[in-house]
Symmetry: C2
Amino acid sequence: MHAHTAGTEDAGTVIRAAGLRLTDPRAAVLDALRDHPHASADQVLAEVAPKLQHPSVQSVYNALNDFVAAGLARRIEPAGHPQLFELRVGDNHHHLVCTTCGSVRDVDCVVGEAPCLTPSDPRGFLIDEAEVTFWGTCAACAAGVA
Amino acid sequence: MHAHTAGTEDAGTVIRAAGLRLTDPRAAVLDALRDHPHASADQVLAEVAPKLQHPSVQSVYNALNDFVAAGLARRIEPAGHPQLFELRVGDNHHHLVCTTCGSVRDVDCVVGEAPCLTPSDPRGFLIDEAEVTFWGTCAACAAGVA
DNA sequence: TTAGTTGCAAAGGCTTTGCACGCGC
DNA sequence: GCGCGTGCAAAGCCTTTGCAACTAA
């Protein structure tokens, strides 16, 4: 019954299970990521601000980077936009990125397994992972809502 | 006999054909990109420095951005590394990026046409293009040459 | 107790912007 | 001649780093 995306269990449990110390900022950041599946550091900060005494930008970055290092979160870096973080890890899904507003949506991999995972010629590289990004315009921006 | 990647014709011809004015910095930047297929702004600057009187960082950025806007070049933004520019455009090839040193190599698309070009569910997005990036360690870095 | 974390402050890398002069067309 | 492009300078955004005090375990 365990969720692979660490989405249902208690934040504290998840954090500790990842081998990290449980602190208020970390718990708040994890909750923020659950509420905002593709949040930037700024958005996370805004989200945790009301819950903490003195939210600091660096603590947010620390928590986010620690999560990524611990395998709890995944870092997305849409070209031209600040980096985003998401909790879904290891399930081979891809992203739709709006070139106008930078919003991101998940798309499950076209093929079930790993479609483009094997380049025609690795050129000597040891491939760790393949990332597929679809660039386009989201419904809102297309509608002129900017 | 015309090259689609603007790789063989005179730099001036290519630049003007793109609707841009021909200037020394632009010609030098285009040549630099030809010599270094995946160059950063810094690398381009270093490359054009000897050829120009007073190479300025901004002129390089201007030229590069103009090229991208004119469809002459393509911008690559490997997460965590400065952006790179390449002249190959519109031929649906992808990239191998070294997570250690940031070096980039081209890989032709696995399938001839457009493999992952169609997401399972566009979520209302108007897709412009699909980008596939293979993250890994290049031969040099793997060998410990750092 | 003791190492890992926070918060504050400041720096850092990369890229863009503003404006006067000069050059391409 | 007109307008775009250059060069110089400075600012901007996002992210990281350094260090003392604190707290989770």
